[in-house]
């Protein structure tokens, strides 16, 4: 973060709110520039690009003007600039819509100072910043399921090799699903696998993980063989 430019730009039609915001941010060393209309906001953003923007998506001028503003900003300025949406309407649909259109995050109104500052720090990390303390989750609430994307590097009769920026430790149990998996197995459900081996590919610097098929699962092995024969041109020229 540059030490010269500490400007945060906000769009809100309530001058009182803007004053409160200015005081909160000043304590953290930020300079706030406020706009009360989209036009003014556009002018300010062009004059001096801020570090971060706070945009109220529920302006009185026109319902949803904030949404259009986010979209226009992303189209014109790209995705580097963090845009945090502020709103009193906290419906999950509104939040979702703002994020879809390119907002980075959401902050509810009325503003909670700590929440705001912590959020800003997530997007503008500063040294020596004191993060919020954690609460311990009761152990019975620990188990969860995490979904993420993986890519398939190769397929043999024996198993699948995945490639990813995530490192999958040996022994990790996975369920994989998607169009490819259903094509491969011919079944309308996820494929259960476990990781037998993991390494780093020297060339791509990506993580690789091999998962062996269950040798007892004759149905799966047959489907995989049929898939390989169908999709490999290996012996076409022979």
């Amino acid at each position: 973060m540059s030490s010269t430019n500490q400007t945060i730009l906000n769009l809100d039609d309530d001058p009182d709110f803007n004053n409160i915001l200015r005081v909160i941010l000043k304590k953290e060393g930020f300079k706030l520039k406020s706009a009360t209309t989209p036009e003014e906001f556009a002018k300010l953003i062009n004059k001096e690009p801020p570090l971060l923007c706070l945009v109220d998506i529920n302006l009185d001028v026109a319902m949803g003007a904030g949404y259009q503003m986010i979209q226009a900003m992303r189209n014109r300025l790209g995705f580097e600039l963090p845009i945090l949406v502020i709103s009193r309407r906290a419906s999950q649909e509104d939040i979702g819509r703002a994020l879809e259109l390119g907002a980075n995050d959401f902050i509810p109104k009325p503003i909670d100072d700590t929440y705001l500052i912590q959020k800003i720090n997530q997007y503008l990390p500063r040294e020596n910043f004191k993060p919020l303390p954690y609460f311990k989750v009761s152990q019975k609430d620990w188990p969860c399921e995490v979904s993420f994307n993986l890519e398939i590097y190769s397929l043999s009769e024996f198993g699948i090799t995945f490639t990813s920026n995530h490192f999958l430790s040996k022994g990790t149990y996975l369920q994989v699903d998607g169009e490819f998996v259903r094509d491969l197995t011919g079944e309308q459900r996820p494929l259960k696998l476990s990781i037998h081996n993991s390494w780093i590919d020297e060339k791509s610097h990506r993580f690789m993980a091999f998962s062996e098929f269950n040798g007892e699962d004759i149905q799966l092995l047959s489907s995989v063989r049929a898939f390989i024969i169908k999709n490999s041109g290996a012996r076409d020229n022979a």
Binding site: Y134, K136, C144, E145, T163, N165, R225
Partner: protein, 230 residues
Amino acid sequence: MNNARKGSGLLKTVLVIDDDLDTLAFMNKILTNAGYEFLQAVSVKESQITIQNFAPHLILVDYKLGEENGFEILNYLKSVNSMRLIPVVMMSSTVNKKLVLQALSSGALEFIGKPLKAATIVQKVKKILKQHELPTIIFKESPKVLAKCIAETIKINEMNVLLQSSVKFDTKTPLKIDSAFFNNLGANNCRFNTEGEPFVANPGVYRTKVNFKGMNENTARKIRNIKVQT
């Protein structure tokens, strides 16, 4: 543990097509003893179903199948794109040069004369299976899949959750987290983004900081009420 399994780690299936039940019983005994998964069929129709269902590693087919003959199997395999790599051996009690040549030119890999000898069969099967390993497909465009693993949410605040898992997640990557706990908090509606380098808790166990995105006030309040600080 049997031999075929020891060799490759994978049970290989051999389909024998013959209308003579004694031959099938004999082949079943020697192939099973040699460690192969034995499949059988007595007619062209039955063979087609078995081939579709099991995509066997190797097919041994008798020339004479009652009214039908083994060439129908060879033609069938050629007509089905997904089965064209399966090696076929033709067997027959009548052996003449014309038939052998016809079999080989129709796509059979080898021809064996009857009566069958156990040692010869096993030797041939072993050899052909070794030569006909299926290729590994390396994808030019890696197919994308959605993976799901189990993990633990061990610490939480309104900004982020500490996720413990056997997956070391890359930084700045979107995830989805589902649990009854998150459901109760309303946090399952949030978006999640990993942040920073995961911390190694134990060998093969990683703690990843995951940021909440788009959390509503209700959820933030519920999290503040958890109260047991670390």
